[in-house]
């Protein structure tokens, strides 16, 4: 009953907008929480009834969805991050009307994301990525803060350029394949692999996805959008939106539709390595909390792409595992930034200091997230980076392995400076009154931190049973 992943949020939106405003506004939050939590539940526990039950709706709709292990990992991350974002949104958006709209838009982007990771058609991929993108535009802009509007506009323009590139490619591939489904496009690409047109089409499609995923040199929109968006929206954006619409699509297409292909892989590796280094270096110079995290995101996404380009099974497993970990710890860091921003009223790190003693939970969870980002054991981020570096080393990419591992020093450097300026250090007089953020922020932070620690500690146990099977999506 895969169609439920798309249809249930849909149904929820319809029900929420029935003309019973007073009731539905109360319910909106719970709908969102129930849906995202339910999604996590069915992915983790794999209830037979859900996955194998007769698809009643399937009799009316032919949705052509398909779930493999890669989609499962994505569905899980989507569920978790959406859950966190909804709770943060509840805490940080004061106006009840805005909060209601926020909930609706989050549900819409949930439809988009679930659809994206399940579908099997190139053109549908474009549509669902667009659903996610448009709801993100509105989410970034919906508090009408001038900076946020600018971030949104930048995002709109670059995302539209990405769309144009992707569609151009779709039209060429349509000419070659006669259809847009993954299987027929893959067959066509295989048949005419030496064709310039097909290669060009693949190239611009990948470029489009690079823009969506915020990879260097197409990352211009990302820091503005991430850092200017309202707190809850940055959690959603940084945690999952760009991962689904850019990185997931790249993984899916480069492994089973356009590839595997050696020159494509070479391009991916170069883009990944450049993103790692540039993102990390740019993050070093930032004084705005969320901007730093945004650049850090670019750098971490670089690891995923680098591993993707490496192309061995172990590397791909590492890439997907890092994608999952990254969506967890990066959204955790953004939840922390939301807490700090809400309590101090600024996201400028130079105006903070010593908050650790006032915000113990935020402090502890940000410590976990930062160590995980920098790849310090025993947290989850360490293991995925380790797998990636081992895979690179085994394939003989020594230089890339060194780039990957030395960049984690830079990562450690800027995150240490973040810790120093925000949490560690001496509390200034102005900030004496700061208190811990409310339950809606602390609770998701603790959940995300628990996931990071739990995955990290249980890694040796789950390595064979969960992490290696991720690779089953490869043909």
């Amino acid at each position: 009953m895969l169609s439920l992943f798309v249809l249930l949020p849909f149904l929820a939106i319809v029900m929420l907008n029935l003309p019973l405003k007073t009731v539905t506004r109360q319910l909106a939050l719970w709908f969102g929480i129930a849906l995202s939590a339910g999604q996590v539940f069915v992915v983790i526990f794999q209830p037979d009834v859900f996955w194998n039950g007769t698809d009643l709706l399937g009799r009316f709709f032919t949705l052509r969805l398909q779930a493999d292990n890669l989609s499962m990992v994505m569905l899980l991350s989507i569920g978790i991050v959406t859950f966190a974002a909804i709770l943060v949104g509840r805490q940080t958006i004061a106006d009840s009307r805005l909060r209601f709209n926020f909930m609706n838009l989050v549900l819409l982007s949930l439809i988009g994301m679930n659809g994206t990771v399940l579908l099997t058609d190139l053109f549908s991929l474009y549509i669902f990525i667009e659903v996610v993108a448009i709801s993100s535009f509105i989410l970034i802009a919906f508090q009408r803060d001038l900076n946020a509007l600018e971030g949104a506009f930048k995002y709109i323009i670059l995302s539209a350029v990405a769309t144009v590139l992707m569609l151009l490619s779709v039209s060429v591939l349509l000419m070659a394949a006669g259809d847009t489904s993954f299987s027929s496009v893959a067959a066509a690409v295989k048949n005419s692999s030496s064709s310039h047109f097909v290669r060009f089409a693949i190239g611009i499609f990948i470029c489009g996805l690079f823009i969506k995923g915020g990879l260097v040199p197409f990352h211009g929109w990302l820091p503005a959008a991430y850092s200017m968006a309202p707190a809850a929206v940055s959690v959603l954006l940084a945690g999952i939106v760009t991962k689904v619409s850019g990185i997931y699509a790249l993984i899916r297409l480069s492994t089973s539709v356009f590839g595997p292909d050696s020159s494509l892989n070479a391009v991916l590796m170069i883009a990944g390595a450049v993103s790692i280094v540039i993102g990390a270096l740019a993050a070093t110079g930032q004084s705005d909390f969320k901007r730093m995290l945004a650049y850090s995101s670019i750098s971490q996404v670089g690891y995923i792409i680098l591993a993707l380009g490496c192309g061995t099974k172990l590397a791909l497993v590492g890439a997907v595992f890092h994608l999952f970990n990254h969506s967890i710890f990066k959204s955790l860091l953004f939840v922390n930034s939301a807490a700090v921003e809400q309590q101090t009223g600024t996201s400028d790190m130079d105006k903070m200091g010593g908050l650790g003693s006032r915000m113990p939970y935020t402090n502890a969870t940000s410590l976990i997230a930062f160590l995980s980002t920098a790849g310090v054991p025993p947290l989850a981020g360490f293991w995925s980076k380790l797998i990636i570096v081992i895979a690179l080393w085994q394939s003989g990419y020594y230089i890339y392995a060194f780039i990957a591992i030395l960049s984690s020093i830079i990562t450690l450097g800027y995150l240490l400076s973040m810790q120093r300026r925000v949490f560690f250090g001496i509390l200034s007089d102005k900030l004496q009154a700061v208190r811990e953020a409310g339950f809606g922020i602390v609770f998701p932070a603790c959940v995300l931190a628990a996931i990071t620690v739990g995955v990290g500690l249980s890694f040796p146990f789950i390595f064979n049973s969960f992490i290696i099977p991720i690779g089953a999506f490869l043909k």
Partner: protein, 476 residues
């Protein structure tokens, strides 16, 4: 049993902040208790180990990430020494740290550090060795920045960055070992390598990690800077445990597991010699009490590396003894410095003087520990230093031995200079008291142990000799 030694402090550490909410005393006693449990268990495990067996406990997951704990003589020796010193340092902290904020975090981090240390010592898998290695790095980062002042936190960051830089290089080295042998487990690596050498690249990378952790030239600068930490932490980090981690891993990998290229048997002593001389020189001119002792540590670590890297029996035995004696004595020196610093609020030795009148026990303890570090007979330090240099001469590294003799001579000079300026001379202060009973007892115990270690040298020697019986790769 091994699991208990490692996991009692590791998991116990996280109960300390909770206990701290109940009462300070309970938390302090629990912290000491966790360390003592490990100490007692290590002692218990030493019986079978020293009769020639090894103890292993492993969780096998059918893959490369098996969690293996492995105890041989070397590990037990190291664990015993660290547990002993940690127990004394935690005891000392009861007095020292009670004046400051964030005590919960302090005890959490110290016990966690200790647990990481134990895990590292017993780890039989390179990945977990790295994991525990980083746990010690994280905890020492928090501990160095304990006072939260900007300068301190910056230095804590620096220490973390430098050691992390080394350790990721080491991780790459581990990965290249994995590629060479197909495993991260020490036992499997040992059998896979057989008589072959480890590749030079891997050796160099791992060495970079070790040198950064052990604060050897050129990656030593974080250690003197880390002197801003609370004194028990400095003692823990600089004297007893953190810098010894590098040395231990060197012994564990390069002496006990692999054979490396002949080249390294010359290169490492040279690096060690340069490090010993340069830092001794730095110690001569510095005026900050704790920085001098820290430079002295850098210098003494050189001796240990010398002993381990020349690879003959007497050298390795001397180095192991050195680990123990230096831990005790240098710990004592730092704790004495802590008492001086806390009671006078001054770290600059040119502004101190005549403290022997007001702090007699501290002064005497300082002197005893200093004698041991200098290598004056019959203190413990003498025997270890003697054995290391004798080993070096025996293996034909004559020039290097001479360099180290110069280093030893410099040690005598700068430590006497410190003692002279701080404790002798005219009295500059009125009303300076002796440290609290808990602190004074701790330093006295360390001083007495340093002395006893020398007079009763037979016992530690037996300990060490039975340890090195189990090490391959020693030129007999």
């Amino acid at each position: 049993m091994l699991l208990l030694i490692v996991f009692v402090p590791l998991t116990g550490a996280f109960t300390l902040p909770i206990a701290g909410r109940v009462s300070d005393r309970l938390r302090n006693l629990l912290a000491l208790g966790f360390v003592l449990i490990s100490l007692v268990l290590t002692a218990a495990i030493s019986m079978p180990v020293f009769s020639g067996e090894t103890v292993t406990s492993a969780a096998i997951f059918n893959n490369v990430y098996n969690f293996v704990l492995y105890a041989d003589g070397l590990a037990v020796f190291m664990a015993f020494v660290s547990a002993l010193i940690s127990a004394i340092i935690i005891f000392y902290s009861f007095g020292y740290i009670s004046h400051y904020e964030n005590q919960n975090e302090y005890y959490l981090m110290v016990v966690l550090f200790f647990g990481g240390m134990m895990g590292l010592v017993f780890s039989g898998n390179l990945i977990f060795l790295y994991l525990f290695w980083e746990i010690t790095a994280i905890t020492s980062w928090r501990l160095i920045g304990f006072f939260r002042e900007k300068q301190h936190v910056l230095r804590a960051d620096k220490a973390f960055m430098v050691t992390m830089f080394g350790s990721v290089l080491m991780l790459v080295g581990f990965i290249s070992i994995y590629q060479q042998t197909g495993s991260f487990e020490l036992a499997a690596i040992k059998s896979a390598l057989g008589t072959g050498h480890l590749s030079n690249l891997a050796a160099a990378l791992i060495l970079a990690g070790i040198l950064s952790k052990s604060a050897t030239l050129p990656l030593h600068t974080w250690l003197p800077d880390a002197g801003v930490a609370p004194s028990p932490v400095t003692a823990l980090l600089h004297a007893a445990l953190l810098v010894k981690i590098g040395v231990y891993v060197f012994a564990r990998l390069f002496v006990a597991t692999f054979t490396v290229d002949e080249f390294w048997h010359t290169a490492v002593p040279v690096i060690a010699a340069v490090s010993a001389l340069v830092s001794a020189g730095a110690a001569m001119v510095d005026t900050d009490l704790k920085r001098i002792i820290a430079y002295s540590t850098v210098s003494q670590i050189g001796f240990i590396f010398l002993g381990l890297s020349i690879g003959n029996e007497i050298g390795v035995a001397g180095a192991l003894l050195y680990i123990m004696m230096h831990g005790l004595a240098k710990g004592g020196l730092f704790l004495c410095a802590g008492i001086v610093e806390q009671n006078t609020k001054i770290k600059d030795i040119t502004k101190l003087g005549g403290l022997i009148k007001t702090m007699p026990i501290t002064a005497v303890s300082f002197l005893l520990c200093a004698f041991s570090v200098m290598g004056i007979p019959p203190f413990g330090g003498f025997f270890s230093k003697y054995m290391v240099i004798a080993g070096a001469v025996q293996s034909g590294h004559l020039w290097i031995s001479l360099t180290f003799l110069v280093g030893a001579f410099l040690t005598i000079i700068y430590l006497l200079r410190v003692f002279n300026m701080v404790f002798l001379g005219e009295v500059r202060f009125a009303g300076v008291k002796e440290g609290s009973a808990v602190m004074v007892i701790s330093v006295a115990v360390l001083a007495v142990l340093s002395l006893a270690g020398g007079i009763l040298i037979y016992w530690p020697c037996q300990f060490v000799l039975s340890t090195i019986q189990q090490l391959p790769g020693i030129v007999k």
